[in-house]
């Protein structure tokens, strides 16, 4: 059956309007739940960077746990000056958007965690590129602003079994106890070494075989992001 052009045009317009309206209603209805999921995931990520096993904890308790451990948060600029001191506001900062701004305008979050043993840890967000897409994570430093307390990494679509392993314990655990400043006080970051790091290397961890580009991406991410925090870290370290 041949339809007239008018019919076809009318048909497509009505169809598109119906679809658009129903999709909008559904998206608006589900948005709060989706945002809540993303918020909980961020809390989980921050907590797991201070070595709290969040995987076994039910989702509705993450909020309370986060309040218990993360006692405050500030956002600093690349000169190390505190810019935002309201923790709720700092939590809302998306590092992706900040990294697009010029260096001096960036608001860099620092989450301050009070641990069970009374120690304080400082959690810094990370964001970089892997092989196929973005990689991100959090790194927590001990009170000396030098020793790594813990890290967590996640990725969008690294190769399963290879680059995707950056989230696994065998890759993450060796970061603990490494230092990001050399004995002379110079910023060294952490190297991810192909073929394995020497046991006594204070700044190196093993790379993942078959995941070289992702490993390099994580290394660059740590170097770049901690680099932006250098002024903050240096000024607190010397206190």
């Amino acid at each position: 059956m041949q339809h007239s052009n008018k019919y076809i045009l009318g048909y497509s317009i009505i169809m598109v309007v119906i679809v658009a309206v129903s999709l909008t209603i559904i998206a608006v209805q589900l948005k709060p739940r989706q945002d809540e999921n993303i918020r909980i995931e961020k809390m989980q990520n921050i907590l797991s960077s201070v070595n709290i096993a969040v995987a076994e904890i039910p989702k509705n308790e993450i909020g309370t746990l986060y309040k218990k451990y993360i006692v405050s948060a500030v956002a600093v600029n690349n000169k190390g000056e505190d810019k935002i001191t309201d923790p709720a506001q700092v939590f809302k900062i998306e590092l992706v958007n900040e990294l697009k701004k010029p260096g001096e305008e960036q608001m860099l979050p620092v989450f301050i965690a009070k641990l069970d043993n009374g120690d304080t840890a400082y959690v810094l967000p990370l964001r970089g590129k892997g092989l196929w897409g973005p990689v991100w994570g959090y790194i927590s430093l001990k009170g000396d602003f030098n020793t790594v307390y813990g890290v967590m990494f996640d990725h969008k679509g690294e190769t399963p079994g290879l680059g995707a392993e950056i989230g696994q314990d065998f890759f993450v655990n060796p970061f603990k106890g490494k230092t990001i400043f050399g004995k002379d006080g110079k910023f060294t970051s952490i190297q991810i070494i192909k073929g394995g790091a020497a046991d006594d290397n204070p700044h190196g961890v093993d790379a993942i075989s078959g995941g070289t580009i992702t490993s390099k991406g994580v290394e660059k991410m740590i170097f770049d992001n901690l680099g932006s925090y250098q002024a903050y870290l240096q000024s607190h370290k010397n206190h």
């Binding site: 048909y11 497509s12 169809m15 598109v16 589900l30 739940r33 989706q34 999921n37 969008k156 679509g157």
Partner: protein, 219 residues
């Protein structure tokens, strides 16, 4: 004419014809193993059982309802833009499924990532719409879509069962290989996690199925 109409109305909801629509995709007309459609997602989301099951359900819902909607509209759809109309219906359903997954099973939706969106391009869907829904009544079309979705899902779950159990020693996230097996040197087969082994697993399923069903053997 009126006699014919009556006859159609009398047809029970689950007549043998309709039941066949539901059953055929499991064996003789399986979308993956016989028609070799929807392979890309079958390779990608079968590393673990849970995402595979969610993917199977999503595809079943989308095929069933897109068949139903297109079949109800089939007499009004202008033939010159029929593919576009089909795509719009499928895309809308896929977006709805994706949004619901993001809201209710966030961790699974993260694992499925782009593959939910790629249901739109799943050949099974367009195949069923063009081949069946455009020329049949809504109810048989719905059953046809439902059956094909489940036929696809069945293969997905079988492949995921072998890949998860051999690749990570788990079923649905629970360990099935006792610790002492690891202690005496058993190792999970990391190759099972990679996509090539999914292809080989599907190949083995096709082989087993063909050798058991004479109808599928090519002379």
């Amino acid at each position: 004419m009126s006699e014919k109409l009556k006859k159609v109305e009398k047809e029970p909801m689950f007549s043998s014809k309709v039941l066949k629509l539901l059953k055929n995709p499991f064996n003789l007309e399986n979308p993956i193993t016989v028609q070799v459609l929807g392979i890309c997602s079958a390779l990608a989301v079968t590393v673990q059982m849970k995402p595979a099951i969610v993917m199977a359900l999503s595809v079943t819902i989308v095929t069933a309802f897109s068949n139903l909607i297109i079949s109800s509209l089939r007499n009004t759809i202008p033939s010159r833009i029929r593919i576009i109309v089909q795509l719009v219906v499928v895309a809308a359903l896929v977006i709805i499924v994706d949004q619901i997954l993001k809201a209710y099973v966030y961790d699974v939706s993260k694992k499925l990532s782009v593959f939910v969106g790629l249901i739109i391009t799943n050949c099974i869907l367009m195949g069923r719409l063009e081949a069946y829904a455009m020329g049949n009544k809504p109810w048989p079309s719905f059953v046809d879509g439902f059956g094909n979705g489940l036929g696809y899902g069945l293969i997905l779950v079988i492949v995921a069962f072998f890949r998860e159990s051999l690749g990570s020693g788990k079923i649905l996230g629970a360990k099935i290989i006792p610790q002492f097996m690891y202690d005496i040197g058993y190792m999970d087969n990391g190759l099972m996690i990679l996509p090539p082994m999914a292809l080989i697993t599907i190949g083995i399923i096709i082989w087993v199925q063909r050798s058991k069903t004479p109808e599928l053997q090519e002379k």
